[in-house]
Amino acid sequence: MLATSPAFKENAAHALADPSLQKALHRTRPQNPAKRAAAVAALPEFEQLRDIGRDIKNHTLANLDFYLETWETNVLKSGGHVHWASTADDARTAVLEICRKAGARTVTKGKSMISEELAINDHLEKHGIEPIETDLGEYILQIRKEPPSHIIGPAFHLNREDWEESFRKVHTHLPADRVFAERKDIMTEARELLRSKFLAADVGITGANFLIAETGSSVIVTNEGNGDLTQTLPRVHIVLASIEKVVPTLEDATSLLRLLARSATGQDFSVYTTFSTGGRRAGDLDGPEEYHVVVVDNGRSAMVGTEFQDMLRCIRCAACMNHCPVYQTVGGHAYGWVYPGPMGSVLTPSLIGVDKAGHLPNASTFCGKCESVCPVKIPLPKMMRHWREREFERHLSPQSVRTNLSLWAFVAQRPALYRLATRIGAKALSLLGRGRGRLASVPFAGGWTGGRDLPVPEGETFFARYARLERSKRS
């Protein structure tokens, strides 16, 4: 997928001025946090489980090579095939080769963010194989040729009228004047249309929420059942999984699953949690004959042992973006690549480079909400700060930012000067805003006051007030 992350500022401005997007964001903004909060409140052990989840992932990452090897051994033992892919290109080549060997004409797909990262669909199409997205949200995005805007609700940015318009445009075999009385009618139309695609496909491609070393299994979690139809009906099942998906045992996966749905959709458990281990066994009446896993690195191994290793704990629940004031204001497309929101602001610079994605870790107020809801306690704000430091070190930030930061650092490191400067500043602002509670514009800070007012300081700095109160206590 081509990144537009370098244009984050323009993307964000565009998003703010898009009434349809703002309508959708306004709708989803309060919903997801409320659903999660209710599910968490119903499970008193949730906080302890977060620590457990973090520890399981940390243990796995510290022994990632061992668990990947064990997992591979067990996939092979159960008749599956493993394809290692260092780069996106390796992964695309592996997928195409499997499809070609299977003589595939159509390929059904379950929702997979790694598939977006690898741009598998474009690659298959280029080589004459038709990919069909079957997740309801992904299906409409394929019709509209749009990328997902959210990692679990890819079409959250659309409104009902967008769905109706796209379906009327593409499903031309149906009466043009049909009525979509309810949302369900839209869903039913997709269900009926996709059913024949599921049955006809030669290959099914899914992602993986977890790989299990103990058993050589891959796990997918869905509510629709599309992932299961995708991996059950065609003759060949391909799993796309990145290296950090592995966990040691079923018990480890189970603890993480207790966190996943609650953090993601506020469900206690997703409708279908499915463990796949190899292909069809002797006597089985259904299931794929071949089971392949393409294991993708694409930049992740380089995060191991760095200050960004904790990011590899991510289980892709989307709680961080659901609670992020920035994401909830500009939506997912502004981030310009596959992974939006706080997790994307940390992951994207690792995967496509901070030179391209440097704006993303800057698009944060460091309010800390993302870390407070993360099921595996990833210190997202801290890692965004690391990216800001790296960006500064590599002289990627603009000259004006660098000069002002240097000036600020000079003052902040000299307490007497800092106090003098803040005293003058507070006094000046209070004089400037006399009689008013707020300032609509401030010299040299037009960029800041362009979008909001500055509350007028009372004229006294914290230091001055503290000293005064201490004096009055003593007297």
Partner: protein, 234 residues
């Protein structure tokens, strides 16, 4: 080539070579002991309450159920349910011995076909392997006598489950699978596919509003056979 590059990069990041033998042994011991982590208290309750919790959670997740005291009542329970849904009395049913032993002939109107589900089938009857009270979840491991398509393809999925097969937490279900199943191919216990099913299919992709019946079954109905005397007495 990719394989070596990936393992090399991981080990460089971890600042070591392949794991030393003693550490690898400790990890292998952890794998074979597969220790449980914290199990939520909600399912650690008396037997009868565990079954009640399972049924409450089924309903919370938009599934329906009927309790029968004996397998002999099953044909009537199934026939009544599908009639109430205005469905034709045609069932595709798992070729499982427990389901074969049900006196279906008592309801001659019901037409049964054993096997996997096909596109035209409307109602499936699956053999429930284990029920998990914690979230009202059905564990359905694939086997020649428990085809996966029965969980997915039909508009209406009926699952027959014995009350004695209800456990509290997922971990207990894994232990049942470990103890009872043997996969000849891998010499392990995992079958090709294990589905954990919690309610009927749904999606919130349109305006993040929940709608039932996305791609999988629109209805999930559990017929619970009360064969657990300890639960009935307590």
């Amino acid at each position: 080539m990719s394989r070596e590059a990936i393992f090399g990069a991981i080990r460089r990041g971890l600042r070591r070579g392949a794991l030393p033998d003693d550490q690898a042994m400790a990890l292998r011991a952890r794998l074979s002991a597969h220790p449980r982590h914290l199990i939520p208290a909600r399912s650690r309750v008396a037997r009868a309450e565990q079954i009640a919790l399972f049924l409450r959670n089924l309903e919370k997740e938009f599934a329906t159920f009927r309790r029968v005291s004996d397998a002999a009542e099953l044909p009537e329970a199934v026939a009544t349910y599908i009639a109430a849904q205005n469905l034709p009395p045609e069932l595709v049913i798992a070729p499982h011995d427990e389901l074969r032993s049900i006196p279906w002939a008592a309801r001659p109107m019901l037409r049964l076909r054993e096997g996997r589900a096909e596109a035209a089938d409307l109602v499936s009857v699956q053999h429930g392997y284990v029920g998990i009270a914690e979230t009202g979840t059905l564990m359905l491991p694939a086997a020649p006598d428990r085809p996966t398509t029965l969980n997915l393809l039909c508009d209406t999925a009926i699952v027959v489950l014995r009350a004695s097969r209800i456990v509290g937490a997922y971990e207990e279900a894994w232990d049942v699978l470990r103890a009872e199943r043997h996969d000849e191919l891998s010499d392990g216990f995992m079958p090709r596919n294990v589905m954990l099913v919690t309610g009927p299919s749904r999606s919130a992709d349109i305006e993040s509003t929940l709608e039932l019946g996305a791609h999988g079954p629109r209805r999930l109905h559990v017929v619970l056979v009360d064969d657990d005397s300890s639960a009935l007495q307590s």
